[in-house]
């Protein structure tokens, strides 16, 4: 049992959405709560059961009332749980807090949340456990933590209890003072923040809050007022750097009470754990920042202890203190000392890498007493950080990659500021990059390669303008490429990124031109099937550059594919052929194509005739034809996919591009699943007025010339004969429109090649064929989809529908459409009598069939459906719904005779007569199974007439 629950809970936690698709949140929650109430379940299992509620309360309690009920349930479990299961009780408190906060029960102060709050306050003051087993104390600590979280989420909730927490903290000599101190400082901070927002609040109000007398502080009703805080700024820190303004509470210099509370908290901060101490100090920093009446010097006694600490979170609080109070707490010497300390810590042998990286980040966002620039999120160097000081942080090859890059970045900033005249440091950085390059050359692993290219990019982004370095790098990178062609993707990435990010620099184009030179000068003997694809990939990238001349590329290609000695054409496979074609394709749209036509045509022609792969031959022929017959503009228009950006073609995914890059191709060849339905099939309201009008006219026309001469007996036989003919419809055709659903996602605005697939939910219909729709654009009229259903039994049904389509980005998608419901009346078809038949013949047939259905026993049935209906309503009902199926004369209002034919072979005959008390629908059918559907159909028709009442429904079957 326990193992099964462990399995289920872990499945839920790893993928809640999939877990809940197999069941519902409601069911799962109910199961959890039932098991929690079960006395037989062990408390270890119960602890486990609480974890889904703790971690996903909003998922399991989708509405407030479910949240409220769950909370009440959990409270009753808590009440019944013996105190010795303290561990479980703690988990319960955490679960309750999660549920009440994450549904909006707490914000609306529902009954459960008020009860819970009372419970927590009571537990937090309960010192009866003092002499019991140690484990029991944990409930008190957890209750305090829950209160603190409630106050954190709903600032001001506990303001009235400030004094209570202060008292509890001071009385406690055991380890609970930490929980009380945390709670006390947070409540205090939030109370002061709220006072800063009150107009006219001052020393008196502050004193009242500290004394627990909140009615003086706030005139408005506390509970309702505070719950409505929509503004999230109270949740946000008030210390945000030099440019932000701190909300202040003007109290004048007399803040004795606050000062004594703060000193007492600070005095005891030493006995808190470093993590809690840091939080406490931070809250108090916020309080002092908001109350100018208290001098920041109150923190001075703590500073030395904090500056000497080995704990990163404690040293960080001093930086935050400095950020908040600058020179009112820290002298210029202090500032120099702290900065030196940060530099030392950034490379201290006993600290971990994340800590050192954090300290380096702190140097770049150093809270200076007198900042020159406006601060913010930009990295900038503190004025005091001299190159001499920073020199201890120069990167070396022994650093791990993150440290190395962080140091490189910092030193780049230092030397950028220093200027070019003192170039030694910069020389060192360059040499460092080169020694990294040597490591890569000597076969460094993937991580070293990636780090090297990142370092190059970082260096260039600061010093691309210094030609001695940027040109040197081009030379070295080309040399590297010559020996390690597998680095082509990294080099292309570097070129792409420098081009994008350093728009004013020409470095990327220079690099590419030089690489082109290197590749095209490679002796043919050194080309192998291994390095050639990389060369071609690189040349294809070079061919994207409008500014790079392409003649050498062409002669290289030519020399590679043409000579007899070259085995490329003979043994080259499809991928390699594609690599060649990719270069050609880019050249086809190159701005200097005019001068390239002849050599390019030669290459394409040669490929078309001699390449060993037929597909490549075909494509080469296509390109050749395009090149030789189209003008340059047309060619560019045809082949260009998307706009050019910075002189380079932007890649666009498309299968017609053929030479997809391996990564792009995967996403192109995968079918993606949409999250929601993108479009749906909506039934078309084929205008019934129009149809009936036409039908009525045709009837009238018939009436004029209607003379029936057929023998009575032959009518039925002739009809039977007609029924077996293939002209009789075996299908019903339903018209739908394909329309976008409400959910708006611009990437589904233009859809192509939509293939709709339908799945039956029962056996009553034949399988449907897939339907193709060429395209669906949001701004164009919706396409009409005709659904042809072939019934085995003409019963109502539901169809599942799905679709595969392509969107404008060229990706393939699979989506589920909302289900399609086929109603009973949608299967109705007019009587399939021979076209030549007049109305009297049909009437004759009606009577014959009626007699037959009334007498024969097999599957036939007659029945009577009665209802109250005004005569005018009846006429409009018949006109609206039955006219296409009417057999009797329209002018003959005393009795309407109607035949519904339902493919493949069923009939329903109606005689509708208004009688004195009700309208009678006499029904005869050769398929009694249709009667329940017919009955409900008629009822919906009648109930749509407001004053109609179905009064009697008498059904008899033979």
């Amino acid at each position: 049992m326990a193992a099964a629950w462990a399995e289920r809970v872990s499945t839920f936690k790893s993928k809640p959405s999939r877990f809940l698709s197999a069941t519902t949140a409601e069911t799962f929650l109910a199961e959890l709560l039932r098991e929690l109430r079960d006395d037989r379940a062990s408390y270890n299992v119960k602890v486990l059961l609480l974890s889904p509620i703790c971690e996903h309360p909003a998922l399991l309690c989708p509405s407030d009332c479910v949240g409220e009920e769950t909370a009440l349930e959990l409270m009753s479990v808590f009440a019944q749980c013996p105190p010795k299961y303290a561990h479980f009780r703690c988990h319960l408190l955490v679960a309750l807090t999660s549920v009440l906060i994450c549904t909006s029960c707490m914000s609306s102060l529902s009954r459960a949340s008020q009860d819970f709050l009372d419970l927590l306050l009571q537990l937090s003051q309960d010192i009866s456990d003092l002499h019991s087993d140690g484990i029991l104390h944990s409930v008190r600590v957890t209750a305090c933590e829950c209160l603190q979280e409630l106050e954190a989420c709903f600032p001001g909730l506990l303001t009235q209890h400030v004094e209570l927490f202060s008292g509890l903290r001071q009385q406690d000599t055991f380890r609970f003072h930490q929980a009380y101190a945390g709670l006390h400082s947070l409540v205090l901070r939030n109370a002061v923040y709220q006072l800063t927002q009150e107009t006219g609040a001052g020393a008196e109000q502050l004193k009242a809050v500290l004394g627990g007398n909140t009615s003086v502080a706030w005139e408005a009703d506390q509970d309702s007022g505070l719950m409505n805080i929509k503004d999230s700024s109270i949740l946000s820190s008030v210390i945000l750097g030099s440019m932000s303004t701190v909300p202040t509470l003007h109290t004048g210099p007399d803040c004795k009470e606050l000062r004594s509370v703060l000193s007492s908290l600070l005095e005891e901060s030493y006995i808190l754990t470093p993590l809690s101490q840091a939080a406490l100090l931070y809250r108090l920093t916020e309080v002092v920042a908001m109350v100018p009446g208290v001098a920041p010097a109150i923190f001075r006694a703590q500073l030395l202890r904090l500056l000497g600490t080995s704990k990163v979170c404690l040293l960080h609080t001093t930086l935050l203190l400095k950020c908040a109070f600058t020179d009112s707490l820290f002298s210029a010497e202090d500032e120099a000392f702290i900065l030196k300390r940060l530099v030392v810590l950034s490379q201290h042998p006993l600290l971990t890498t994340p800590t050192k990286l954090f300290y380096m980040d702190c140097i770049l966002h150093f809270p200076e007493n007198r900042p020159i620039n406006c601060g913010g999120s930009e990295e900038s160097l503190p004025v005091l950080l001299t190159p001499q000081l920073a020199s201890t942080l120069v990167p070396t090859v022994f650093n791990d990659s993150a440290t190395m890059l962080a140091r490189l970045n910092l030193l780049c900033l230092v030397y950028l500021e220093e200027g070019e005249e003192e170039g030694r440091g910069l020389d060192y950085l360059y040499e460092h990059i080169i020694s990294l390059l040597h490591t890569v050359e000597n076969g460094g692993g993937r991580e070293i390669v990636v780090t090297f290219f990142r370092a190059v990019f970082l260096f260039l982004s600061y010093f691309y303008h210094m030609e001695c370095f940027s040109n040197g790098l081009i030379e070295k990178l080309c040399k590297l490429y010559r020996h390690h062609t597998r680095l082509a993707p990294q080099l292309i990435n570097l070129a792409d990124q420098t081009q994008d990010r350093l728009a004013e620099s020409n470095w990327a184009v220079d690099l590419l031109k030089e690489l082109q030179r290197v590749i095209t000068n490679v002796p043919l003997a050194q080309l192998t099937l291994k390095n050639l694809p990389w060369h071609l990939k690189m040349l294809a990238r070079v061919a994207e550059e409008g500014k790079a001349p392409q003649h050498s590329t062409l002669s290289f290609l030519y020399s590679v594919i043409t000579p007899v000695s070259s085995s490329l054409c003979v043994s080259g496979d499809w991928p390699l052929g594609n690599c060649v074609l990719r270069v050609c394709r880019r050249l086809l749209v190159h701005p200097s194509l005019d001068s390239l036509v002849i050599p390019l045509a030669d290459i394409l022609q040669h490929l078309a005739c001699h390449y060993s792969d037929t597909d490549i031959q075909d494509h080469a022929r296509l390109y050749y034809t395009l090149l030789t017959t189209l003008s340059q503009e047309k060619l560019a228009g045809l082949l260009a996919q998307g706009a050019t950006e910075g002189g380079r073609w932007v890649k666009k995914r498309s299968l017609s591009c053929l030479m997809g890059d391996s990564e792009g191709l995967t996403s192109l060849l995968t079918i993606h699943q949409t999250e929601k339905a993108i479009f749906s099939l909506v039934e078309v309201d084929s205008d019934p007025q129009q149809e009936t009008q036409e039908y009525r006219e045709s009837l009238l026309n018939q009436n004029e010339t209607n003379i029936c001469t057929d023998e009575v007996n032959t009518t039925l036989e002739a009809y039977r004969c007609q029924l077996s003919s293939p002209d009789v419809p075996s299908e019903i055709t339903l018209n739908y429109q394909l329309v976008h659903t409400e959910t708006y996602d611009s990437c589904f605005d233009q859809l192509f090649s939509i293939r709709l697939h339908f799945t039956l939910t029962d056996e009553h219909y034949e399988e449907l064929r897939d339907i193709s729709v060429p395209c669906l654009f949001r701004e164009r009229p919706s396409p009409v989809v005709k659904l042809r259903l072939k019934p085995r039994q003409p019963f109502p049904t539901t169809l599942h529908a799905s679709a595969i389509f392509t969107n404008q980005d060229g990706l393939s998608w699979h989506t589920i459409l909302p289900d399609i419901h086929v109603a009973f009346q949608q299967a109705f078809t007019p009587l399939p009598a021979p076209l030549a038949w007049r109305q009297e013949c049909k009437l004759n047939l009606f009577e014959r069939l009626w007699d037959e259905f009334s007498s024969e026993s097999q599957d036939c049935a007659t029945t009577l459906f009665c209802c109250k209906l005004k005569e005018s309503d009846l006429i409009s009902l018949v006109e609206k719904h039955f006219l296409p199926f009417l057999i009797s004369d329209w002018s003959h209002k005393e009795e309407f005779k109607v035949i519904f034919f339902l493919p493949p072979q069923s009939h329903v005959l109606l005689k509708i007569r208004p009688e004195v008390d009700a309208v009678h629908f006499d029904i005869a059918t050769d398929n009694w199974q249709l009667l329940p559907y017919l009955s409900s159909y008629l009822q919906t028709l009648i109930s749509s007439k407001e004053d109609a009442h179905s009064c009697h429904n008498n059904c008899e079957a033979y």
């Binding site: 790893s14 959405s17 974890s51 309360p57 909003a58 561990h87 703690c90 955490v94 999660s98 087993d133 140690g134 484990i135 979280e149 954190a152 000599t173 055991f174 380890r175 003072h177 999230s232 949740l235 946000s236 820190s237 750097g241 006995i271 754990t273 470093p274 840091a278 030395l304 202890r305 500056l307 704990k311 040293l315 960080h316 609080t317 950020c323 530099v343 030392v344 890498t353 994340p354 990286l357 954090f358 980040d361 702190c362 913010g376 999120s377 190159p387 000081l389 201890t392 120069v394 070396t396 090859v397 030694r424 440091g425 020694s435 000597n442 076969g443 390669v449 990142r454 993707p489 990124q497």
Partner: protein, 491 residues
């Protein structure tokens, strides 16, 4: 100051990665949603987080040499906080995710940003970052122990304890403490302690004989090039570890470090949070200042109230004038042969009494060793099993001359290639020294048994010890091109 979620992942060089533990803090998530407003990005499901983290750490698709999402040169990892790009509905950047990796474990947490989301605040403004680092480091020590190799069984049992540990130290996403080492926390019964408050970092009170153990360990690192153009480097750092079994709720202990008369001052001193007060003169000396003779040079007093478990009272660095062992290493290549010549000199101030002393001579990017014909003036030479490493065991003592030499030739003709290292090719080679000298420090720093003061009713037993050991002690071949290990020697 809180975390939105916490994950513990195990993997084997990027393969077989799985989430071993995860905890989402739903109430913090509730706050995150309100704080971030429209730029809120929800925490995705576990599988997605795992994939994104591995990609961001460069551990995914280890069989592919280049993957754009993973290897783009624009994604420059130089911050302790990662950014995970979440795709699909609710896409956006999940930031800041802190990670700590050691061996097969990755610990990660997503911090709450309690500041306006735009523009993105610097990490230095978010207390949750330093708290997160502290918390994850504590969690890592809890799971893997400090330093030593992780053992799998221990890890599994520690992971199983996590739900109850997290309930104690971070029940609702706001960290209160780091997990305590050793046995699961079972708070002892409180004792009437007068008006002294028991520190929150102390789980109980010691009873019984008072014992104070102070161990001073110095570590020396060195890079010696034996080359005029490159200055040799060495540095020393020390740590003082204490274990104090002293009665009382908040007992006072003072440990004093002293230096010999002309010893160079201790620098970059970092102290444990249990140190109650510090003199400003202790903190002034810094390794990045030019040290002047007038600087404060002790005695260094550290008054503190000890926690129950062993802890690192303080650490320092020191600039000593000479390295303990000076080496010179010469390699010359002849045909397929290496001529090796190595001299090691022990400095006269260093006690000639080692617990162990070994020199390792690795040869990278070569075949296995064939014939090894070397003579040593002292100690014993061994060839490793893999035949790519010479181990020279010097034993407990250098000879009276305090100098040892090694001469010889090595041929490489083994059937299979030895280990490779991109840094050390051809004549770029080094030897690495491993040694430990008990009862001495290079800086001369010591803790006198009599200087340890304990304010307690019973007289405590006081044990002090000190030792020196090496770490990253390299001697590079002077005929090859050695990599630069510090910028200071160039600038």
């Amino acid at each position: 100051m809180s975390f939105r979620a916490l994950w513990i992942i195990s993997h084997d060089k990027g393969e077989h990665a799985s989430i071993r533990f995860s905890r989402r803090f739903s109430t913090v998530e509730h706050r995150a949603k309100r704080l971030a407003g429209s730029s809120y990005v929800a925490v995705p499901e576990e599988g997605t987080v795992l994939q994104l983290l591995l990609t961001e750490l460069g551990l995914s698709d280890s069989d592919k040499s280049y993957v754009a999402q993973r290897d783009d040169c624009l994604r420059c990892h130089r911050s302790p906080a990662l950014e995970l790009q979440v795709d699909g509905p609710g896409k956006g950047a999940l930031w800041p995710v802190l990670t700590i990796s050691q061996g097969p474990l990755i610990l990660a947490c997503l911090c709450l940003v309690d500041a306006p989301p735009e523009p993105r605040p610097p990490l230095a403004n978010l207390l949750s970052i330093s708290q997160g680092i502290t918390f994850l480091e504590g969690l890592q020590t809890f799971l893997l122990g400090s330093g030593s190799k992780p053992d799998n069984e221990g890890l599994v049992s520690r992971l199983a304890m996590l739900p109850s540990v997290i309930l104690q130290v971070c029940p609702l996403g706001t960290p209160l403490d780091v997990p305590a080492l050793g046995a699961p926390i079972t708070p002892t019964v409180p004792t009437p302690a007068g008006n002294q408050k028991q520190p929150a970092w102390k789980t109980g009170v010691h009873r019984g004989r008072a014992v104070v153990n102070v161990a001073l360990i110095e570590t020396v690192r060195s890079m010696q090039y034996g080359n005029q153009s490159r200055q040799d480097l060495w540095d020393v750092y020390g740590t003082v570890t204490c274990k104090c079994e002293v009665e009382g709720v908040l007992p006072n202990v003072t440990v004093t470090l002293t230096l010999p008369p002309n010893g160079s001052p201790l620098q970059d001193i970092l102290v444990h949070p249990c140190v109650t007060s510090l003199d400003s003169s202790i903190l002034t000396a810094s390794s990045i200042d030019n040290c002047d003779g007038s600087a404060f040079s002790g005695p260094y007093k550290f008054p503190f109230s000890p926690p129950l478990e062993p802890f690192r009272l303080c650490s320092y660095t020191s600039q000593v004038p000479v390295p303990p062992i000076l080496g010179s290493y010469h390699l010359t290549e002849e045909d397929n042969q290496l001529r090796v010549s190595l001299t090691l000199k022990l400095h006269e101030t260093v006690k000639n009494s080692f617990e162990y002393c070994e020199a390792h001579l690795p040869y990278f990017n070569r075949d296995q060793m064939g014939i090894v014909d070397v003579k040593v003036s002292s100690g014993q030479m061994d060839v490793s099993k893999e035949k790519n490493l010479l181990v020279w065991t010097l034993g407990q003592k250098f000879p009276k001359s305090r100098e040892v030499t090694m001469e010889g030739r090595i041929t490489f003709c083994g059937p299979s290639p030895g280990p490779s290292d991109p840094l050390c090719t051809d004549l770029t080679a080094y030897i690495k020294l491993y040694f430990k000298v008990p009862d001495m420090t290079l800086s001369g720093c010591c803790v006198d048994q009599h200087s340890v003061q304990v304010y307690s009713s019973t007289k405590p037993r006081i044990v002090t010890s000190r030792e020196l050991h090496s770490e990253e002690y390299f001697i590079w071949n002077s005929t090859g091109k050695a990599p630069v290990s510090s910028g200071q020697m160039m600038l």
